[in-house]
């Protein structure tokens, strides 16, 4: 059974957003909020390319942009930036999904930390350890965002 045929397959690190493993290309890439994408697409100086991808995306961001002005979007970003423990990805997820409470946020946004080098990551057991923000602070943050969303101009 064993023989040269059975060479090792290269062990590529699996991408998994739930543990914030986004792969080498995206671990440190700048995430965009849907609202920001909408702004960028709508304010393009060039003609819109006529591709299915573009059109579907435009439709999508129009549907799901939570913050319809640049001001509110940047305000949200500013708010979230104040929380240094959050990664770009988490920031964007919170802003995109606008979870109502900490419980929901923890469920829909990955909360496991990945260190800067992509390989030696720490896996948390269960949901309790390595939560980077305690629930109260998270709750406050979310509330703030909800408010901004409600009162955006």
């Amino acid at each position: 059974m064993s023989g040269p045929r059975l060479r090792h397959r290269p062990q590529v690190e699996e991408e998994d957003a739930s543990v914030l493993k986004l792969g080498a290309e995206f671990n440190n890439a700048g995430c965009l909020l849907i609202s920001e994408v909408k702004y960028l697409l709508e304010n393009r100086d060039k003609d819109a390319p006529d591709t299915a991808v573009y059109n579907k995306t435009l439709e999508y961001v129009k549907t799901f942009a939570k913050f319809n002005t640049t001001d509110s979007a940047s305000a949200v970003r500013e708010t979230l930036r104040r929380e240094p423990a959050l990664t770009q990805f988490e920031t964007a997820q919170i802003a995109n999904l606008c979870p109502a409470n900490a419980e929901e946020a923890k469920s829909v946004v990955p909360r496991y930390m990945v260190t800067s080098s992509s390989h030696d990551y720490v896996i948390a057991y269960g949901n309790q350890s390595l939560v980077k923000i305690d629930d109260d602070r998270l709750q406050t943050l979310l509330q703030e965002i909800q408010t901004m969303r409600k009162f955006q101009t």
Partner: protein
């Protein structure tokens, strides 16, 4: 997840394009080449935001063509396994439903739909329905991507709504 990302693209330029409008050629070429494409590494390249460096044209020996390695910044969309996204239901079949998440199509199998939601073959349009919720075309849905498959031209994903905080959103 949408990202803003610096990417590069190589353009070969025929000598007949050398001249005053060369940059224009290159730019339009870049836009048409990359926008709307999809790769496993970067996901969908939605739109080029800015061109950082059009590149120095290196004339290739033999062909006379010039090679420009162009760096640009683009909005890309790459779905990740485990990511929670919102989408719009596009098509419902008895096997499950398809949802559009931007350029991405996500299939949610009936096995990954809460068993309370039953496919209702008699409804028009076809739908999955439970006592309080209904999933039909154009329903907005929050789902979690459980797997992706990358083709040359598109990414396909399957998702689940069988977890807390997932499902129909208003």
């Amino acid at each position: 997840m949408f990202f803003i990302k610096e990417l590069s693209h190589t353009i070969l330029l025929h000598p007949s394009y050398f001249g005053p409008r060369m940059l224009q050629f290159l730019e339009s070429k870049l836009y048409s080449d990359v926008e709307g494409t999809c790769s496993g590494q970067f996901g969908y390249i939605i739109a080029v935001v800015s061109i950082l460096d059009i590149g120095k044209g290196m004339v290739l020996s033999g062909s006379g063509q010039a090679e420009f390695i162009t760096r640009y910044r683009a909005i890309v969309f790459k779905p990740f396994k485990g990511e929670v996204v919102d989408g719009v239901v596009n098509n419902v079949t008895k096997m499950g439903f398809f949802a559009d998440v931007g350029p991405l199509t996500v299939f949610v199998s009936h096995q990954l739909i809460h068993p309370d939601m039953k496919f209702d073959p008699n409804s028009n349009p076809p739908s999955f329905a439970s006592e309080e919720q209904i999933i039909e075309k154009n329903t907005k849905i929050r789902l979690k991507i459980v797997g992706t498959r990358v083709d040359a031209t598109e990414i396909f994903a399957i998702g689940t709504i069988k977890e807390d905080h997932l499902g129909v959103i208003d």
